[in-house]
């Protein structure tokens, strides 16, 4: 065998499974330059192409900024809008850009490099100025530079990928993922990123397999390498042998069959053998998911994450734009219900303004941000109300931690209603309002919150992190994030009991609701609604339909007396394995 015929070695790696499915195909390694700009020499004949790229990037950058300024003027006041004045002017500085163009022509270097060099020159001078005002302007100059560089990069990116590929990258921001999703992507693999990052949620929504936490992978794989991505187990194979490939193709077929069998459950209710019925709904991010959600037999949408409307955008969409999306979703699932959660974002997402918090997780997030920005909140509330005309929309507030917050939010809702009434626009005057229980304080005062709302929805992802003091994205301690920690189970019991005691229904939209291992327990604790990732609907329904409510209650009672997570998890596994031997429990 000559050197050119040598078969490359098969390499098997394991990461964190993030989105299910098996993909087999060529890899595309995506290197985002980020703040690191590479210097490249270009040929004479490529100069015009480079200058064209610059012109396009500038046009985009100007448009972007114009939108931001417009938004700032309308929503945050003229004073806030002024902070972008300097950037706007720099983008129109003809002397600056003529100098840049000249340098590209004479030095024959790529335009990113010249932009960074030329603008960087001014930035450096300003940064070292004795005048404080000028030092602050240095930030504006840096922003402009980055805005131009980003637009240059995005211009290059979208055209690059042809054919179907598995994307491999160090990290993928949600905006990148959205851009990439317009190409034909078979799967995603990233080096870092927790399994609840936005990229992952998107991958699940688009039904694309994904793996995260595969360290150094973008240096090991090369463009064009054949790879296998197993999103169920987190296994990633580079240059698979024929046998390995066959093994995974069979596994893929097996899953398809299993899922096909589950499809027969679609129109059957989520009801136990002894007649106890629950709502089995879907967690949804994108309008594009609706078709899949309906095919999977959801009873409705238990959580619509409205912040996905903000992806890849620097300003909040207008009331009108939001209304269009909410209306499409409400009509898409009618007569079933959709629960729209108001924007659940960190303060740093607001206007790309650098709100630097040391501990954003315990900071300005969720309902807190919206209550501090009533103009933006009112836009959203009006848009949701307008979409509620067919009476199948409910509203949910995230990260609530006090009664005061809920009352303030409801007050704003009333203001929104009044404004619509004044404008003779119709809406569901009896629209149901609920809150997410994810901050431990909310769980402790659940009965009081229940007096103010119609339902509670448990957000286990954050609740467990706050309760156990564990950052799930922190690889060192992520194994301490335990759904079956006794404290979690007791908290759940408390929330459900207190909520139902006050005659409100209690649902769960956190990941735990979609964990087959937890289904019987949650049933037995009295959970009224399971809202899960659409992919898991049939499986969870199958479990519910195969057990008795009485046995679920009995199981819950036993678990509540156990003292350690190992005991609880072990017991759950034992029960599930004996009742459902063919359900894969990873």
């Amino acid at each position: 065998m000559t050197a050119s015929e040598q078969v490359p070695d098969e390499i098997t790696l394991k990461g964190i499974p993030a989105s299910p499915g098996i993909a087999i195909g060529p890899a595309f390694v995506f290197h985002k330059d980020g703040p690191v700009v590479q210097e490249r020499s270009i040929a004479d004949q490529d100069v015009e192409k480079e200058l064209k790229r610059l012109a396009e990037a500038l046009a985009h950058a100007r448009k972007e900024l114009a939108k931001i300024v417009e938004f700032a003027e309308k929503k945050l006041g003229a004073k806030q809008a002024k902070i972008f004045e300097a950037e706007l002017m720099i983008l129109e500085d003809s002397v600056l850009f003529e100098a840049i163009r000249k340098r590209v022509r004479t030095e024959l270097k790529n335009v990113e490099f010249v932009v960074r060099e030329e603008i960087g020159k001014y930035h450096a001078l300003m940064q070292t100025s004795k005048d404080e005002y000028t030092r602050e302007r240095a930030n504006d100059v840096e922003d402009v530079q980055n805005r131009i560089l980003r637009n240059l990069q995005e211009g290059r990116l979208v055209s690059k990928i042809d054919g179907s590929h598995i994307i491999v990258s160090k990290n993928l921001a949600a905006a990148d993922a959205l851009i990439l999703s317009r190409n034909d992507v078979l799967g995603y693999v990233t080096e870092i990123g927790g399994s609840t990052s936005h990229m992952v949620l998107l991958a699940r929504a688009l039904n694309i397999p994904a793996i995260v936490g595969l360290h150094e992978i973008s240096t090991v794989v090369h463009k064009g390498d054949t790879v296998i991505l197993d999103g169920y187990s987190g296994v990633f194979v580079i240059n698979p042998s024929r046998d390995t490939r066959k093994k995974f193709e069979e596994k893929r077929e097996g899953h398809k069959e299993f899922e096909g069998n589950l499809a027969t459950l679609r129109d059957l209710p989520a009801e136990t053998l002894d007649g106890h019925k629950v709502q089995l709904s879907a967690n949804v991010e994108l309008q594009e998911e609706l078709g899949f959600v309906k095919r999977q037999g959801a009873d409705g949408i238990g959580l619509f994450r409205s912040e996905t409307l903000l992806l890849g955008k620097e300003v909040f969409p207008s009331e009108e734009d939001q209304y269009k999306t909410y209306k499409a979703i409400a009509e898409g699932v009618h007569p079933k219900r959709v629960i729209i959660r108001t924007f659940d974002i960190g303060g740093d997402k607001l206007m790309a303004q650098a709100v630097r918090e040391n501990n954003p997780f315990l900071g300005w997030r969720g309902i807190r941000v919206m209550l501090d920005m009533p103009n933006i909140f009112l836009d959203q509330l009006r848009a949701i109300l307008r979409a509620s005309v067919k009476k199948n929309v409910s509203i949910m507030f995230p990260m609530v931690s006090s009664l005061k917050e809920v009352r303030k939010a409801k007050e704003l809702l009333e203001r929104a209603k009044k404004r619509l009434t004044d404008k003779k626009m119709s809406f569901d005057s009896e629209i149901e309002v609920g809150v997410m229980i994810e901050v431990p304080a909310a769980a402790v005062i659940a009965e009081d919150l229940a007096h103010e709302v119609s339902f509670l929805s448990i957000g286990t992802n954050d609740l467990i992190q706050y309760l156990l003091a564990v950052d799930r994205g922190n690889e060192i301690v992520s194994n301490l994030y335990q759904e079956f920690h006794p404290a979690v189970i007791r908290f759940l019991r408390r929330i459900i009991e207190r909520g139902k005691g006050e005659k409100v229904w209690v649902g769960m939209c956190g990941e735990m609701a979609g964990d087959p291992l937890a289904t019987m327990l949650l049933l037995g604790l009295g959970l009224d609604e399971f809202s899960v990732v659409p992919h898991m609907l049939p499986e969870i329904k199958k479990i519910i339909r195969s057990v008795h409510y009485s046995e679920a209650k009995h199981l819950a009672k036993k678990v509540l007396n156990m003292e350690t997570e190992d005991e609880i998890e072990g017991y759950m596994k034992k029960v599930m394995k004996s009742k459902f031997p063919d359900i894969p429990l990873e």
Binding site: M89, I90, V95, Y133, T134
Partner: protein, 87 residues
Amino acid sequence: MIQEEVTIKNRAGMHTRPAAALVKLAAKFKAEFYIEKDGLEINGKSIIGVMTLAAEQGSKLRLRFEGEDEMLARNEIVGLIDRGFDE
């Protein structure tokens, strides 16, 4: 070619607003227009350049005009600066 020295009069110095006014005015003329301060010379028709000057109140700028309408440019620009940018 005309050279002239001016002093920045207004309290806040040459912040964004006056810098923009200056650049806008300079653009009207065919003559080239350069500003020098503490050994750094920038093109007076470039906003990013003018911002870099960090000209606070009392700072001395050396202006240079070169071109067919240099006299007119000098009169109007020096006038604007001497009036404290009409602030």
